[in-house]
């Protein structure tokens, strides 16, 4: 904390805050699409931390040019790892989006609470038991009331 207001201090603060914001959104948000956006933020913060771990003060980019034979270079290994991780991240994003399409088509909603109550009712109907949280046979009116209560 003695040298917080340096370039590295500010960048580490930003990277950790970005990860934390993404994790908070992933835990708190109710909408599936917003959860996907939070996942993207979380990935970006983790990538930034990885790249910063190879950052050297007064270093140059790890590419040989004509005039920079003797200069200190940044670490190329974290950059190569992050290069791969970003491309995989977009594959994960597209896969999650296609799964969200299927969920929207099947349940007709994007809200996690609605999806959960419908899912529990489906499972109870398949198993032939009463749905959890009610003492009687499944009635839609009861379910809507219980959902509003939460």
């Amino acid at each position: 904390m003695n040298s917080f207001f340096t370039i590295e201090g500010i960048l580490y603060f930003g990277a950790i805050s970005l990860s934390i914001i993404g994790l908070f959104g992933l835990l708190v948000s109710k909408n599936l699409f917003r959860m996907l956006l939070s996942l993207v933020l979380f990935e970006a913060g983790a990538n930034l931390v990885l790249v910063l771990s190879g950052f050297i003060r007064n270093g140059i980019a790890p590419i040989f040019l004509d005039g920079n034979s003797g200069a200190v270079m940044n670490d190329p290994v974290p950059q190569a790892l992050v290069l791969t991780a970003i491309v995989i991240g977009v594959g994960v994003q597209a896969l999650a989006l296609s799964l969200i399409f299927r969920v929207k088509k099947h349940y007709g909603s994007m809200d996690m609470r609605t999806i959960r109550s419908k899912l529990e009712r489906e499972i109870a109907t398949q198993a032939g038991v009463t749905p959890p949280g009610s003492n009687e046979a499944p009635a839609p009116v009861k379910l809507v009331k219980g959902e509003a209560h939460e």
Binding site: I7, L36, L37, Q79, A94, F101
Partner: protein
């Protein structure tokens, strides 16, 4: 140089908070595009031009494209008029 870094990090964090707390979904996607914009500049500042170019290509082009397709197919494309915004409609 340190003030440039401070301004870019501030923009990044403000846009990241806007992704979580803006009521409208199209606005959230646009804010996430701004997050990847500031990430590109940060990667260029820490002298990682390869990573900066990857983030530019994917964050600015491909991710916006994928999320725009998602917005269109999930039914979030309804633009809000001024009075709807003032009434506080929230996609959540």
């Amino acid at each position: 140089m340190i003030w440039v870094v401070a301004v870019v990090v501030f923009i990044m964090l403000a846009a990241a908070l806007a992704v979580l707390f803006l009521p409208n979904m199209i606005a959230a996607v646009v804010a996430s595009a701004v997050v990847s914009l500031s990430l590109t500049v940060i990667f260029a500042i820490v002298k990682a031009p390869d990573v900066a170019m990857t983030e530019a290509a994917i964050g600015a082009g491909l991710s916006s494209l994928i999320l725009a397709i998602g917005l269109k197919r999930l039914g979030y494309w309804k633009t809000d008029s001024i009075d709807k915004v003032k009434a506080g409609e929230r996609h959540d």
